[in-house]
């Protein structure tokens, strides 16, 4: 138990750089939205 608490507190202390990084504007993924590129040389096979 003591070990787990120690680990938790260590992880909490290390969270600071994570939160800072999350503040950096990043490209966000749009849920459910995709781009597909078609394989032209395979397209003819499905006609």
């Amino acid at each position: 138990m003591g070990g787990a608490l120690k680990l938790l507190s260590l992880a909490t202390a290390l969270l600071t750089p994570l939160v800072q990084s999350l503040d950096v504007p990043e490209a966000q993924i749009v849920p459910g939205a995709y781009i597909v590129e078609l394989a032209e040389n395979k397209v003819s096979l499905v006609i």
């Binding site: 950096v24 781009i35 590129e37």
Partner: protein
């Protein structure tokens, strides 16, 4: 079959499976054939997406990512109610033929303009927020015969990025402002503010990818670039980006194809200079794409309030600029000017009580020089003699706002040192001056500039640093982007001063147009090489002071663009830059060719000019050091095949060289050595070739912060670590969880970018992997932290049964072998229990 049939095959499959979807965009172009869509059922979308990706018709599949409008700093905007500046002031500034606009002087654009080079016949496409084509300085119309002659709106006003699909229309008008500012930098026409774009005779294309608010999806960006290419754009520019560092990003890949097909593309390097080295942005980091860094303007535009004065009894008034202070009860007044004395270098003007023979000042505007004591002290001394209105004149550049709330004072302001000196000169001759102030709420604008002695001409501290993770050279070169005056939508004031690499990029695009007009070629690699080899490397500046050494090529690329030299030098280099890569992939020797298109031979003396070797990682850390990075004086040495080479007229000569990386460095901190190969020609030409390399192993660098990679829960806004053995009860396979459903999630923190992240589910305590959770493997990841929730679905399409699990995150190191387990950094989560409702 035509490519337009292929999406129907895809959609038929979705229909057959009973999946609801929304079509987003046709991406049916010569250089990119595909489609974007959105699956409605987020509970099953991951599984469906996997099935689609496995279809033989699908070559590649990526999630749609959205990129925000760049966070450029708005320094000043005009007032749409009082937008007309003082025209008689403007007349003293540049005309179309005499280009004194400081960004153009800095880049030799003024010299090309003096030769009549204006970009005629060249089509420049701008991918941005649209263009306010109604603006008189941007032609006032849209379509054939107009300055903004082509383009389209790919998204519609209401588009905000996110899940809502774009709704295209034909009108690329701008409601955001960013694109109109960019457009003016390229091609603004003569206007009351006295500047023009760098290439005012080009025609512009407006490819609008943002709605009035929000972000742009990369499907929209891919479409915009391809549409511009197919519409015949000669040059495509975008001041847009997002953290990446990988040339394989889908938008970067799409832009690289366009460059390969012969159309130069310029993209801003990014405004994340604070992040240190290795923070390249997409699509600027695409192969062959010109990434543009920013330097600060040598002249800081300053827009003052307009007022006038009459000398003696003359009916002709002259304009001057001033800044209101506090108090500011000016109203509309005309008062005779009275000065404390006629000494324009008096350091303590009105710091002492005024003499007894001072007249009653209540019916004057009192002129006081700034300096030595407080504004309040000076004002108290003149108010003691009855003054109600006080105008300071500055003892430094510009005119700043004064606060002097002294009882009895009605209004205070400040004018420039130049205006003060002019007035003193007139008064000292015994000639009266009457000053006419228009109330600040309705006063016009007085455009002015002041010397930017603090940072002018140096790299902007905000400009993002390269290189890419695989050590592609980045950025290519720099252009003025800090403190840039340009057009702005009329409804937002008409003109604005903005700072960002967004402002540097369009100037570079305009220079591409000018140089291509002179050279008669649009070949991207030729233009990049000639612009790079003639650019001016600059000293490093930390935002406060300059250093005696050159700024790293990872910040400035080849240096500040010099357009005239790029257009007219007789000597070309075959490449724009050289990357010697890292110690594992070291390029032991390199060569380049000098081509001479003149008739006379040129002899070049070769030398090596190192720039500052720069540590990437902070001391004793796996994370990159933030700006400004630590430098070291240890630099590479270069031996040339010959110290002097003669290139015959209309001939070429190849130079080879060997480089020895610097020694004595802490290689684990990834020091980037860099600099320039200088070529001084007998024809007075001065060329340089930038290079970089890493005196360490990229593969040896830790990419995954294993201590900050942990199990968390999807509904914790702070994403704190979850305790071991937490139970997550989630909807079953065919159920949809509500917004409050707490899923297990994995927080992954990358200190450096990783080419591949795996997150595998293991039964708790077991070393046996059940496979990647859905969403992984994730290729080409930027550095930073991400949180991914897990609904029990594996990448192989199966759903794990209820039970106890651990998530094992493995991040492949840069240049690592995906098949070699030793090339991954690994973090194992605490165990947790998964249950289904």
């Amino acid at each position: 079959m035509s490519s337009s049939q292929a999406p129907s095959i895809l959609y038929n499959k979705l229909d057959d499976a009973g999946e609801k979807y929304e079509h987003r965009m046709d991406l049916t172009y010569d250089l990119f054939k595909g489609v974007s869509f959105k699956l409605d059922n987020l509970a099953s979308e991951q599984e469906v997406a996997k099935q689609i990706a496995a279809m033989p018709e699908i070559k590649q599949m990526w999630p749609v990512r959205e990129y925000p409008v760049p966070n450029d700093k708005i320094v000043w905007t005009g007032n749409s109610n009082t937008a007309s500046p003082a025209l008689n002031t403007i007349n003293k500034r540049q005309s179309s033929d005499n280009d004194t606009f400081s960004p153009h002087v800095m880049t030799q654009v003024d010299q090309l303009r003096a030769r009549g080079v204006r970009g005629a016949g060249i089509k420049v496409a701008i991918v941005d927020t649209g263009i306010d084509y109604d603006h008189p300085a941007l032609g006032g119309c849209f379509g054939e015969g107009c300055l903004v002659s082509f383009g389209t709106d790919l998204v519609g006003d209401a588009y905000t990025g996110g899940a809502a699909p774009p709704v295209p229309d034909d009108d690329p008008d701008d409601c955001g402002g960013h694109g109109t500012h960019v457009a003016g930098i390229v091609a603004a026409q003569v206007n009351p503010y006295g500047f023009t774009g760098a290439a005012p005779d080009v025609t512009l294309g407006a490819y609008r990818v943002f709605g009035c608010e929000g972000s742009a999806g990369n499907d929209v960006l891919i479409a915009a670039f391809n549409q511009a290419y197919e519409d015949g754009a000669d040059i495509i520019t975008a001041s847009i980006g997002g953290a990446s560092g990988w040339t394989e990003d889908p938008w970067a890949v799409a832009v690289s194809r366009i460059v390969d097909a012969g159309t130069p593309c310029t993209v801003s390097a990014g405004n994340s200079g604070d992040q240190g080295q290795f923070y390249a942005s997409t699509a600027a980091n695409g192969k062959g794409v010109a990434s543009i860094a920013s330097v600060d303007n040598t002249q800081a535009p300053a827009i003052l309030l307009n007022a006038s004065y009459n000398v003696a009894n003359s009916s002709s008034a002259a304009s001057f600029g001033w800044t209101e202070g506090s108090p500011s009860g000016w109203g509309n007044i005309s008062l005779p000017l009275w000065s404390v004395n006629y000494n324009t270098s008096d350091p303590a003007n009105a710091c002492d009580p005024l003499p007894d023979d001072t007249p009653d000042l209540s019916e004057y505007l009192v002129l006081v020089r700034r300096g030595s004591c407080t504004f309040v002290q000076k004002v108290e001394n003149v108010v003691a003699k009855g003054a109600k209105y006080v105008m300071f004149y500055n003892n430094a550049a510009g005119a700043t706002s004064v606060a002097a709330d002294v009882e009895g004072l009605v209004a205070v302001g400040m004018t420039t040192a130049e205006t003060g000196a002019q007035w003193i000169s007139i008064l000292s001759n015994g000639t009266d001056i009457t000053v006419n102030i228009v109330d600040p709420d309705s006063a016009g604008q007085y455009p002015s500039t002041r010397d930017n002695t603090a940072t002018g001409g140096f790299l902007s501290t905000f400009t993002s640093w390269g290189p890419t993770y695989e050590l592609d050279f980045y950025p290519q070169f720099s252009a003025p982007g800090g403190l840039i005056l340009s057009t702005y939508p009329l409804e937002l004031g008409g003109y604005a001063v903005l700072s960002g690499t967004s402002m540097a990029c369009p100037l570079a695009a305009a220079v591409y147009a000018l140089v291509s007009e002179v050279r008669g070629t649009l070949d991207p690699s030729t233009l990049e090489a000639v612009i790079a080899s003639t650019a001016n490397p600059n000293l490093f500046h930390n935002g406060v002071s300059a250093s005696p050494f050159l700024a790293p090529t990872t910040q400035q690329g080849a240096g500040l663009i010099q357009a005239y030299d790029a257009a007219y030098t007789n000597a070309f280099l075959s490449v724009g830059s050289i990357s010697f890569n890292d110690t594992d992939n070291f390029l032991e020797s390199a060569e380049f060719t000098i081509r001479n298109i003149g008739d006379d031979e040129i002899t070049f003396a070769l030398s090596h000019v190192p720039a500052a070797t720069t540590y990437t990682l902070a001391s004793d850390s796996i994370y990159p050091q933030e700006f400004p990075n630590e430098f070291t004086s240890s630099s590479a040495t270069i031996e040339f095949s010959e110290k002097e080479v003669t290139v015959p007229g209309n001939g070429e000569t190849t130079v080879s060289m060997t480089l020895t990386p610097p020694t004595g460095l802490t290689t684990a901190r990834l020091p980037v050595y860099n600099g320039y190969i200088a070529l001084n020609g007998s024809d007075s030409s001065s060329l340089s070739l930038p290079y970089l390399g890493v005196a360490g192993s990229m593969k040896a660098a830790t990419v995954l912060d294993t201590r900050s990679t942990y199990l968390t829960s999807s509904t914790d806004p702070a994403f704190n670590p979850s305790a071991a053995n937490t139970t997550f009860t989630i909807p079953g396979r065919n159920a949809t969880g509500g917004a409050n459903t707490t899923y297990p999630a994995i927080a992954v923190s990358l200190a450096l970018g990783s080419p591949l992240i795996l997150v595998e589910a293991h039964p708790a305590g077991s070393e046996t992997s059940l496979g990647n959770i859905y969403g992984f493997p994730s290729p080409y990841n930027p550095r930073g932290a991400t949180v991914s929730r897990w609904n029990g679905l594996l990448q192989n399409g199966t759903v794990v049964p209820a039970g106890s699990y651990e998530l094992v995150t493995r991040a492949l190191r840069i240049f690592g072998d995906a098949e070699d387990e030793g090339d991954y950094d690994v973090a194992t989560s605490v165990p947790f229990t998964l249950r289904y409702t």
